[in-house]
Point group: C2
Chain length 377, copies 2
DNA sequence: TTGTATGCGTTATCAA
DNA sequence: TTGATAACGCATACAA
């Protein structure tokens, strides 16, 4: 009685479309026979091939009607055999579990959809074996391009070699490879790091603690560089005792736990700090948890910033001030890049890979506040 | 200097594998010529076809070596043309943005990987047009089965008709259709509803507020039924003034806002309640936000339960007591179900769709507490 | 134990 | 303006 869906489907009798038997595939030949023309003509018409210009309108109409009547659907596989185009793009995530991935995925999917491409999805679970096996499978399926979302683990150069040799355009998101065969889309980490610190500095914070990213991650170094440069430019002193670093880890969600633990360490030092800049949002959330548990209120006693702006940052309590990566746009751009590559390949043009750095954006929420009455001792 | 990845790839010279030219595809014929056997024999050997039993071991070895040497990779498209098998499964999400989806996806992906199937991914953005267009595309790519993750919006019966007519096994997760053509995997919502209330009841709560799910959602009714049945069985009285309902919405993340708003309404009534049972986790998070803002501490003054156990529930502050849906297992099971369907189709057996109800699990965290000192007036 | 021939559904070339 | 034909890469029935 509560389930509305039962009435949702409009009850206009049987869904028509091909009254024919069970599993019969409708081929171009069927359309040809039904319409009284040859398969060649049918192909030309239904694909709107160049030659379609010379086909009589009446013919076109009859063919199109026959196709619709029979429920004809082109066979992507057979089509590939001739055209070498699969209308398929490989999409490899290093770990879909990372909240970073969802918006990126949305961006990619949406852009591909606009081009009538279909993504073949793979999740490497951060395992190299799995990554390579998937790569193999994607090549068997003849994806026309590859997008790798490598936010957390390292991609070995193999990928690049094997792909570029086959002229399959590839782009990475959240990582970049040496050399210029593979395109990449990344946030400008240095600017992002600066933004976060600048924000805290503007709020008047001077005793600031830092939780740096794991050495393993490509983002860690430039983000920290941004911090250092800004600190230097305004004469802010960074107390080494207040700088900790997340350990390397293969679990993209380990940041929470890491942030929690390192913040506890920080508190044990009994060194005063009025703000904490965390490597990313999960780390920040873990830090907030530790602070709160220790009776340090955020943001009253201590401001905290994150990085990424994953979905839960807006929903946490307090909501998180963070440096936003334009994740969805990054997905979109990666698609546009490889699409260019595909087009170039089709036209046998040379094509250069591109390296894109996207601008981050400071999102101010409730976890940061003017230093006025902040204190942690 | 901090970027480790530069040393990661082992620098063992050039990646070998096919020293041949650029984009040349290696076909079975190449392997045949190189090994000195016919394409038929090569096919038999490389596929381990039944006839392979009769092939001389030496022959097998030479063929396999040639294949490896040339870097032969079977062409999935060409293979499909003969075998009618694409080794591909369509995966349609109604809205990937819902945190519900990630673990489900992980489960599906993992199970497919075990069977060497590859998922073609689609996200309907909750739009029917888009859903139908994707369905079309998936059919053009001849997916062997379809899995629909329809947690939030309504699937119209069309799907079913069009698919079952083509003998493509289909399963839905988080939704079920009338009739018996489409399999489904759902959590046992009624039991889950009961569990949540039972937990609160055991903690001594008697004045309990409820935020029910939107009418539109298939989960709402049975979950509420579980609540009512349990309340009745223990003689718990449910105050209608403390029962609110989320409005229908197409945004799976609207729960947070809805929970927030409805909880404010609830507080304005000035009616005492010591616990709140929310429809799902996001709603619970929204509710907690509203309570906290109003000075009502969770769980000291008011206990809150969610439903689903999405990733952020463990990370929120306070962490959320909730009814866990075994999302990953649900994904796995859906795959196993359609795989059975595929196998049945191959063997021309009859096959019955299945409807699975999975057991939920109560996860007790920090948002619920003994009633002893709870109060909201 | 292995090879030959055929066709899957499509598109492109050429001929009519 | 349209049709006949061949070929894409593979797997199978049949022949050897």
């Amino acid at each position: 009685m509560d389930e509305l869906w039962q009435n949702d489907g409009n009850p206009r009798g049987l869904p028509l479309k091909r009254a024919s038997g069970k599993n019969q595939m409708v081929t171009m030949r069927d359309v040809a026979e039904d319409s009284g023309f040859s398969p060649a003509t049918v192909s030309i018409v239904l694909n709107n091939a160049p030659l379609a210009r010379y086909i009589a309108p009446a013919t076109k109409k009859r063919i199109e009607e026959a196709a619709k009547k029979l429920g004809y659907r082109p066979n992507a596989m057979a089509r590939f055999l001739r055209s070498k185009r699969s209308h398929t793009v490989g999409l490899v995530f290093f770990d879909i579990t990372d909240p970073f991935c969802t918006p990126v995925m949305r961006g990619i999917e949406n852009a591909l959809y606009q081009s009538s491409y279909v993504p073949i999805f793979a999740d490497a679970h951060n395992q190299r074996n799995r990554f390579e096996r998937y790569l193999e499978m994607l090549l068997e399926h003849h994806v026309e391009a590859l997008i790798v979302v490598a936010n957390w683990l390292v991609v070995d150069i193999h990928v690049l070699a094997d792909l570029s040799k086959r002229n399959i355009p590839a782009a990475t998101i959240g990582w970049e490879l040496p050399g210029d065969t593979v395109s990449s889309v990344m946030v400008d980490n240095e600017t992002g790091g600066r933004m976060a610190l600048e924000h805290l500095h503007q709020l008047g914070h001077r005793k600031i603690a830092f939780i740096r990213g794991p050495k393993m991650l490509i983002d860690s170094a430039p983000r920290w560089r941004g911090v250092q440069k800004f600190a230097h430019s305004v004469g802010l002193e960074i107390d080494p005792a207040l700088v900790l670093q997340l350990p390397d880890s293969f679990d993209p969600n380990s940041g929470f736990e890491g942030g929690h633990r390192l913040t506890e360490e920080l508190l044990q030092k009994k060194k005063k700090f009025t703000a904490l800049m965390a490597f990313d949002d999960l780390t920040a959330l873990g830090a907030i948890r530790a602070l709160t548990k220790a009776g340090v209120k955020v943001p009253e006693h201590c401001s905290v910033t994150g990085f990424d702006d994953v979905a839960m940052s807006a929903l946490s309590a307090p909501s998180l001030t963070t440096v936003r990566q334009p994740l969805e746009a990054m997905g979109t751009n990666a698609v546009n890049i490889v699409m260019e590559g595909i087009k170039a390949g089709l036209e046998k043009r040379e094509w250069n890979s591109v390296r894109q750095k996207m601008n981050p954006e400071l999102v101010i929420r409730d976890s940061t506040r003017d230093v006025a009455h902040s204190s942690t001792d």
